[in-house]
């Protein structure tokens, strides 16, 4: 009788305790995420509903609009919401796009080298170095940018005639697209390298050996079999890097130039020296105006766009990886 009771209740519960607690924890995490998304979108809604799709469009100066929005929230007058974020969005696209493109190619070659070609001793040095680089806090990169790269660009690369050609509109003092892209590339490339090389390492040796046995040279084997099989890992690494790049605020606020301005490729070479300000640093720079309700809503709208694009990229990455699973790769 007593034994039966024990087997019915005692051991069963002690078995499941850990499982249930972890399950509750997972539910709490998911709930927290949902609550956060709902909060951000509810707060952002007035800004979106007043502007409609024009929110994403161009028109006027973002700086002046933000100032109007902020001031309207202080007095008793009607709130102003007019906001056209194109300058910020374009800057985000340019900086993130540029950095991810450069980082993708360099990280791919570096990880192929580490996994397939580097001698053992070099691999033993490179791997920890890459892991360490991937975890350096972004503010350190920001400091390096402000102290080294920005003055170098401002004092040595930009010429006086280039500066005077845009005088009064923007200043080409080194805070630029170039500095932002360079530093962001250095920041996200190690993350990509470590994920890419994990993917390359998990390619089944038999496949590579089979190809080599057929007389295909090593470079071609690497390129056609290893890299191709590791594609899901490449997608996963790129998506993570894009997400980190989009959300980067501190470093970009320090080096990108902090002026809401849309750099124009039609300007020629000057274009890469032009300052701009992506979405995430805009929140940091205007944090003081959170007390004004319409400004609060506008900043949350920016946050909602960032949140949505991060979710979009991780979803795209998931779909892409599913589609590639038929190549038999693991990632």
């Amino acid at each position: 009788m007593e034994e039966e009771y024990l087997s019915e209740y005692g051991p069963k519960w002690s078995d499941q305790r850990a499982g249930r607690m972890l399950g509750a924890l997972v539910c709490a995490v998911v709930g927290l995420l949902l609550a956060m998304i709902v909060t951000v979108f509810v707060r952002a809604w007035p800004s979106f509903s007043h502007n409609g799709l024009a929110w994403f469009g161009a028109g006027g100066s973002v700086e002046e609009q933000l100032n109007q929005i902020y001031l309207s929230g202080l007095g008793g007058a009607e709130y102003v919401y007019t906001f056209h974020a194109w300058q910020l969005i374009w800057s985000t696209l340019l900086i993130v796009g540029g950095a991810v493109t450069i980082a993708l190619f360099s990280a791919l070659f570096v990880s192929v080298f580490i996994v397939e070609f580097a001698p053992e001793w070099m691999r033993n040095i490179l791997q920890p170095v890459v892991r360490f680089l991937a975890s350096v806090p972004s503010v350190i990169y920001g400091l390096l940018g402000v102290l080294v790269i920005v003055p170098f660009i401002g004092n040595h690369l930009v010429t006086e005639s280039q500066k005077s050609s845009v005088a009064g509109v923007i200043s080409l003092s080194g805070y630029s697209l170039l500095a932002a892209v360079l530093i962001l590339t250095v920041m996200i490339a190690p993350l990509m390298v470590s994920i890419f090389s994990d993917g390359l390492r998990s390619v089944r040796p038999g496949w590579l050996e089979g190809s080599l046995a057929l007389g295909v040279n090593r470079w071609r084997t690497t390129w056609k079999i290893a890299v191709r099989t590791a594609r899901p890992a490449i997608v996963a690494g790129t998506v993570l890097a894009v997400a980190r790049a989009i959300g980067e605020a501190v470093m970009l606020a320090m080096v990108s130039g902090s002026v809401a301005f849309a750099p124009n490729p039609a300007d020629g070479l000057i274009f890469i020296y032009e300052p701009s300000r992506p979405l995430a640093p805009t929140i940091v720079k205007n944090i003081d105006s959170l007390g004004s309700p319409p400004a609060n809503s506008t900043l949350f709208a920016i946050a909602a766009v960032l949140l949505f694009s991060a979710a979009f990229f991780s979803l795209t990455g998931w779909v892409a990886r599913r589609a590639m699973r038929k190549y038999g790769a693991t990632a």
Binding site: G154, V169, S171, S173, M254
Partner: protein, 279 residues
């Protein structure tokens, strides 16, 4: 056995949470970044030399945020570098000490004096080349540097120099006073503004309307230097509900000669402190 361990650690946690010595007071403040160096110096001197039991924490989250903290009760006082606005309802401003906003250029720039009007024109994008500013000895494009809207210095500059017009788009707005100093130091064509505490660090302070940016020109009423201002402490309500320890500290900081020395060492200008008696 296990329950015992949990109980002991719980008691230990509670014990940690209780202040180490009875009767100690921690005063919580936040606000102006510009006031931070002076306030921190005052805090540590007060705790070390006047009252060991009073401790301070100060979060430099910007003057406007500090006033918000006082209004909603998360801070007991705030440092503030601008004069009261209508949105500061329900708070009391106390004049604390004086501060000057210096206009700085790179040491390579030969300019020694600048007028408020010239500064206004530079930051509004009307003067864009150093050749338009006589005496600079430069023929290059001006790189104006300023603070973002979070800074007390930005608001002061906006009111005192720009007549509340927004700076033009070629002004690079940086996130901290230290970054402004850094930018001016590294760029021969730059011009920037920041407080007295930041002077003499690889940048050159200009005379403004012919008056030097030094503490001796700022401390005497009427304020001769055009860009001088009071730094305020902001208290909730009419100030009477603040803890007595805070009141004592404010009195000490405003009146005592020792506090006066601390303020000037940290880059501020004492406004009301008695001069230390010379022996």
């Amino acid at each position: 056995m296990r329950i015992k361990t949990i109980a002991i650690s719980a008691i230990a946690l509670v014990a940690l949470a209780v202040p180490a010595s009875a009767g100690a007071v921690t005063l919580i403040g936040s606000g102006s970044v510009a006031a931070q160096p002076v306030l921190q110096a005052l805090f540590s001197t007060y705790t070390k030399k006047v009252n060991h039991k009073v401790h301070f924490t100060y979060l430099a989250d910007g003057g406007n945020a500090g006033v918000k903290d006082v209004q909603n009760g998360t801070s007991q006082f705030a440092g503030q570098a601008r004069t009261p606005l209508p949105s500061d309802a329900g708070t009391t401003y106390i004049k604390f000490y004086l501060d000057g906003l210096c206009i700085d250029v790179n040491p390579k720039n030969k300019l020694s004096n600048i007028s408020i009007q010239q500064t206004h024109d530079i930051y509004r994008g009307l003067l864009t080349n150093w050749s338009q500013v006589p005496g600079s000895g430069l023929e290059t494009t001006i790189d104006p540097v300023g603070r973002d809207t979070n800074g007390g210095t930005y608001n002061f500059f906006l009111q005192a120099v720009l007549n509340n017009e927004l700076p033009s788009s070629n002004v690079n707005a940086l996130t901290a006073d230290g970054l402004v100093v850094n930018a001016v130091k590294q760029d021969p064509n730059a011009i920037g503004y920041d407080g007295l505490a930041w002077q003499g660090k690889g940048q050159k302070a200009l005379k403004v309307n012919g008056v030097k940016c030094t503490s001796s020109k700022i401390s005497v009423e009427p304020l001769k230097y055009p860009l001088s201002r009071y730094i305020f402490l902001v208290l909730p309500g009419d100030g009477s509900s603040s803890p007595p320890a805070l009141g004592k500290f404010i009195d000490w900081a405003r009146r005592s000669p020792l506090a006066g020395e601390v303020i000037s060492k940290a880059g501020g200008v004492p406004a009301f402190n008695k001069k230390a008696k010379k022996h």
